[in-house]
Symmetry: C2
Subunit: 340 residues, 2 copies
DNA sequence: CTAAGTGGGACATAATAAGTCCATTAGGGA
DNA sequence: TCCCTAATGGACTTATTATGTCCCACTTAG
């Protein structure tokens, strides 16, 4: 894999872009409003006057702006620089801008975008995983219960976890009996995550379709009851988002359910819930564990999904998603979301 | 004029390159010596252990290196990054490296290189001027007497001065009677510099070739005496470096002097002194004002000259140049200097 | 078993950034 | 002409961050 200059720099100096962005927008505003005073400018930019002042002295030393008793203006040099910057910044901060835009559009806590498109470049899935692991590392400290769903994306997240993240985790499958191949089952993924972080996990095996009677019996099982209470008290929920039809087909969905899903124009799926384009729940896999309403009570909710083909699914689910959700996605999906 | 990405970044975040360089070399060393411990590494890199430690924790957080009880090693990611970095850094820090090398080779206080080649791109001369103005800004505060020579390069410096540099300057021509066209005469340039910085200047008009008798008379002139004493007490000397033959031809040099200069294989010229490739003075324009020996007593000496055609001249003069000289040149000349 | 190497914890201190308040001044409108 | 507003820049305090310093526990090679 080949890194671009800016990627290298981001890695070696992570707040390069944010600093550049800050100074760039100061120049931009001055260019727009010149001559302009500090107070005036600081409110426009939403920074305190003091930090603006520091920036201003810096820019003055760099000979990019000149100050007079009328206010600040760009120097000829500053104008030239700004001109070159305009095009460069669009490129550099494209992703950052997209994150911001999506945060606003989707109305969630945070959107994290990794560059690339999972549909085109499979390795981007690992990048999603890494971004998720990083986020977990940032948000969590000490003991935590983490509820996890299945899917290949979640499997990628598991692969990117390291013991450094923490050791006091308990991973639990978010819901029982969502039949997939073993490798991508929630139970398997929980085990993998626990292994990679040197922490613990629980399993939850329940038959998919059961009679009401059997259901009651199962629910009385102490082991099951414990896992269920763990799920309800999870401080973090980690889940993927899938394309409705793909998911339905992958699972052993009954013919009538499949028909129902198709008729209702379901496009998205997350932890067993199917959503149409308006974000309404049109079908729900009947099983125990985490329910949609429970999400709001979790401190952290991270949704991970990438690839332009998942754009619709993500948009659909996001209409229902609780505000405390953090969406981790890729450029491919992000562009789809913005197109909408 | 079009700025490149890295130029923009340097301007918006001046210590970007130095930070990148530092972290890059840490990665480089670890890659070379892994596994290696902190103490060991810190002496190799010549940084204190504590700052290395801060860097290490940073690199660890970035997942570029891994630490164990054996020491530090690169992660796979770190290796990938390093590989990409090797080529990028060569490019980015090429000029910085050249500056360092030339400082050592020439044995002067500082070498500042601007990118480009004055011979090819005329606008680079303005860049030289800007670099000089910046340097002046950095080194000088309060009241200063500045002795200046003539030449088109010095004229370019004058063009780039701004009132921000300071207002308490007195510009004086370094030497009298070095005949050139009016535009590039020391007197004209001093006037221009004074005008652009809102400060003062003096003029010094003396005939080129005079009899000993006339000379004595002139020297008694109070106005001349004052200017001469200003020159001797200048805290900064600003001068260009020229190609010997070109300069000799441009001046109204007598036939015998021209012959003398050519016979002595003079290649370089600065403030009326002609130097051969060994740096020996082979001819000297007889006039009053700044003498070569006076340079050592000036606090700051800035020599400005660019263009690959001036490489030889610069090298010749630099053999004589006082140690407190700051050389401002361009890539074209710098490459010539390094070739030698 | 020892000794030399390792990382990392803990704390003091220096350097830097940011918050806060105010003095001074230039320019524009009445 | 004069005053009022908005401007910068100085000065001080406080918070945050980087660095210097010392030491301890641990691993591993010999």
């Amino acid at each position: 894999m080949k890194y671009s200059l800016i990627d290298l720099q981001k890695r070696l100096l992570p707040d390069l872009v944010s600093v550049m962005q800050k100074r760039f927008s100061i120049l931009q505003f001055i260019g727009l409003m010149e001559p302009v005073g500090r107070r005036n400018l600081s409110v426009s930019l939403g920074v305190t006057e003091r930090v603006l002042r520091s920036e201003v002295t810096f820019l003055k030393d760099q000979n990019l702006i000149s100050v007079s008793s009328l206010g600040m203006s760009l120097t000829t040099e500053g104008k030239d620089l700004l001109e070159s910057l305009e095009s460069v910044m669009r490129e550099i901060t494209g992703i950052d801008k997209m994150e911001e835009q999506l945060q606003n559009i989707l109305g969630v806590e945070k959107v994290i975008i990794v560059s690339g498109n999972t549909d085109v470049s499979p390795w981007v899935k690992s990048e999603l995983g890494r971004a998720c692991a990083m986020r977990m590392n940032q948000s969590l400290q000490g003991e935590n219960i983490i509820a996890v769903t299945g899917g290949s994306t979640m499997a990628a997240v598991a692969e990117m976890l390291t013991p450094e993240v923490s050791k006091d985790f308990v991973f639990v499958p978010a819901r029982g009996g969502i039949g997939e191949d073993v490798q991508n089952q929630a139970n398997t993924i929980c085990a993998k995550m626990a292994e990679r972080t040197h922490s613990k996990h629980r399993v939850l095996y329940v038959p998919d379709q059961v009679s009401s009677e059997t259901y009651q019996t199962i629910m009385k099982e102490p082991h099951i009851k414990e896992v269920l209470s763990l799920i309800k008290s999870a401080s973090m929920v980690l889940h993927g988002i899938g394309d409705a039809i793909t998911m339905a087909e992958r699972r052993k969905t009954s013919r009538e359910d499949l028909y129902k899903i198709q008729q209702a124009d379901a496009v998205g799926e997350a932890f067993g819930y199917y959503f149409n384009e308006s974000g309404e729940v049109v079908h729900k896999v009947h099983t125990i564990g985490l329910q949609l309403d429970d999400l709001e009570h979790a401190e952290h909710v991270i949704a991970v999904a990438g690839g332009s083909s998942k754009g619709k699914a993500i948009r659909a689910y996001m209409k229902q998603a609780p505000k405390n959700t953090v969406l981790i996605t890729d450029e491919g999906a992000a562009l789809q979301l913005l197109k909408g």
